[in-house]
Amino acid sequence: MHRLWNRVDFAFSSAWQNFWRNAAVSIASVLIVWVVLLALGSLLLVLHSLDQIVALEKTKASAISVYLADTTPLSSAMDFKLHLENDPRVTAVTYVSKDQAMARFRQLPALDPSVIDTLGTNPLPASLDVTVRDIRDLGAIDQAVRNSPLVDRSPATNYEPNVIDKIILLARVAGIAGLVLIVGLTGLSVFIIMLTIRTAIYLRRKEIEVMKLVGATDWFVRWPFIVEGLFVGVVGAVVAVLIVGFGYRPAVVNLQSVLIFVPLSFDQYYLRLVLAAMLGFGLLLGSVGSYLGVRRFLKQ
């Protein structure tokens, strides 16, 4: 116990001294770790949000809302509904009244209900929500209903052929760009941690010489520097974790109020995973950097 405590005490107090003895370099390495982890955490959350959107769009994809002109009487709308139901490509048609459309609209997250009340009249059209057997038929249905006099003109339907493809492409581009950025920053941060450790070793060269002379083991000499590297990783990670942890919910809420039709949601479970990944990655950066730092000088 005494020996273990001595080893731990020596490693931590030396690491602490090392950190402050070359404070400028140490703080630079904390900052770079912080930047890497912030980028990593943000990227994971952005990609996750895009995934959420894609998933929701896919469930909506087999349906199309046909907006009815306000002048269309209910009986004509019902005839039109029946006509559509007889189409072999269609599996179901639901009528949504103006009031139901408004009720749905009110359900959108982050929309202030008082704003809607100031509108006075209900601007939303009634619609026929048509579900098709095969997504590829959506375009044809859209073409078929678009020119009917019963249908509203602005817009006629909510058919947007490429929206999912666009989101998937966006996610892919963001993912690749983010990955390239993170790989680059990771290399840079490992390099800077390595330099920090080398500097610490240089400043302690006399102690190390004496330690080897009086018979300290290689690991006893190494530990303070490994601990210092881990410390850099942990401090950078903790700062980044706090920012992402506390910043994610406000960011989602703000985006929801700007992009009111985009189905963003706050995912507590995924956030925890991301924060754990950030902390783990910070420790990894610290240990790899310090391992590379101590590797050479201990070969003697």
């Binding site: 005494h2 020996r3 405590w5 001595n6 080893r7 020596f10 006399k206 102690e207 010489e209 004496v210 330690m211 080897k212 002379l213 009086v214 018979g215 300290a216 083991t217 290689d218 006893f220 000499v221």
Partner: protein, 241 residues
């Protein structure tokens, strides 16, 4: 009389060659046996190979050919992870003391125990014991730059003694000291030797070697040119008396 008894010598070198990577040959065919409790002066001009011999004994360098045994252990077959334990058997002091300037006398000596994971409970009595051997009681809280050269070398000697070494290697320990102080250090080494520790001292100090009349091993050009008990700094024929 010792020669009649088949004992394992503490240190033995057999046909040791040392060539550095740059091609310099530092030692050639050196054979030397040092029994327990011996006191040996290593003499010879600068660059003769004395320091190389010292470095080979603590395995800071490896032999190019030949064998070195310490307590019967073959140093060329010693694994790197066992090296620290060899170093704990060998106390070393140098011309430049190698003290840590930001630590006190007590801390400098205690450092050697801490970094070799000596149990902290025994640290204080052990440090006090070795400091009293070298006669530095009362100076525990001084820093090296508050001490004279002789006192600094005593701190270094105390530090070398904390592991109760079997071998004490001194590389020019009086090189930076005035004659009176040098004699004090030599007295201390004799005391250490009298307590049962084998002492090897590399030196240029002709006066000391001549007066002491101990075993002298002279090295020149990487070879042992003379090995005599109760010898002088120079070979008898060259001595002017």
């Amino acid at each position: 009389m010792a020669a009649l008894m088949p004992v394992v010598p503490l240190i033995s070198l057999q046909g040791v060659h040392k060539q550095y990577p740059n091609g310099t040959v530092a030692l050639r065919d050196v054979t030397l046996v040092v029994p327990k409790q011996d006191f040996v002066f290593l003499v010879g001009p600068s660059g003769a190979g004395k320091s190389t011999l010292v470095r080979l004994l603590i395995r800071e360098e490896k032999v190019t050919a030949g064998k070195i045994h310490v307590e019967g252990q073959d140093l060329s077959r010693l694994k790197r992870r066992h090296l620290p334990f060899l170093r704990r058997k060998i106390g070393m002091v140098f011309q430049d003391f190698k003290l840590l300037p930001n630590l006190t006398v007590f801390q400098n000596v205690a450092f050697a125990l801490r970094v070799t994971e000596g149990a902290l409970r025994h640290l204080k009595p052990k440090v006090e014991e070795v400091l009293s051997i070298v006669g530095l009681e009362g100076k525990e809280n001084k820093f090296p730059d508050q001490l004279s050269g002789g006192e600094q070398q005593r701190v270094a000697i105390a530090r070398a003694l904390v592991h109760d070494p079997k071998i004490f290697l001194a590389d020019e320990p009086t090189g930076n000291l005035d004659p009176a102080t040098s004699w004090e250090i030599i007295q201390l080494l004799l005391q250490i030797n009298a307590r049962g520790t084998t002492v090897l001292m590399a030196t240029h100090n002709r006066e000391i070697v001549d007066v002491m009349r101990r075993r002298v091993v002279a090295i020149e050009g990487g070879q042992i040119v003379r090995d005599e008990d109760a010898g002088g700094y120079h070979a008898p024929a060259l001595e002017s008396r």
